[in-house]
Symmetry: C2
Subunit: 110 residues, 2 copies
Amino acid sequence: MSITGDLIRGHTDTIILAQLIKEDSYGYQINKAILDKTEGRYELKEATLYTAFRRLESAGLISSYWGDENTGARRRYYRITPAGRNAFTQMKNEWEEAKLTIEKLVEVQE
Amino acid sequence: MSITGDLIRGHTDTIILAQLIKEDSYGYQINKAILDKTEGRYELKEATLYTAFRRLESAGLISSYWGDENTGARRRYYRITPAGRNAFTQMKNEWEEAKLTIEKLVEVQE
DNA sequence: ACGATATACCTCGCCTGTCAAGGTATCTCA
DNA sequence: TGAGATACCTTGACAGGCGAGGTATATCGT
């Protein structure tokens, strides 16, 4: 497990957008990529993942389309929008700031 | 504002415990210390702060007692328990791990 | 004398994101 | 044929953050 829900909370959207910057992808693949990148230490729960997709699409940060595989299970692909790229940059900045702040606050002063 | 609720979520308890490691303190002072340490960029909302105190006390990580000031408003002081110190160490480790994980995941791969 | 501001505490109820649990359908391989 | 992987989805419970509201005391300027 390692990372609990509340520690990751608020990063889910950023993490998903990050996976879509380079190329379009679909739910299952995105989660596999996350699992790989973290060497098995973290994966999004499916319910969380799909909730996030809905949220991001409503917000106009991603758009979706069905893949045209003619074999295997159908896939819904997601594409990051220009607004999504802006939002991602913003979120990364916020994370950098938050990281420094948290770092400062969990440090025990001598 | 800078840090939104969901980014800080899950760190509230750790932050409060960190302020109590060195010495006992009370709500208002803890929040002021946080404000100082972050140069005004962050403070816990009062409702969040007091909710956290209740939670931490229920969990046995802090204990509380009324100060004996004979002037000014009454103060409820909080003291970290041995279990609280252990929990704090654990929480800091989890944060270190989470930080590395998030860092890896919000990075855009070339 | 009086209002504003700071100190200091507290609770209620809403909102939002996570996730356990359940479901569907297709393909591969033993 | 049946287990396991791929791939999607929804519902409802739960928990933490926080806006809004409340109480009481002390200080300081006018």
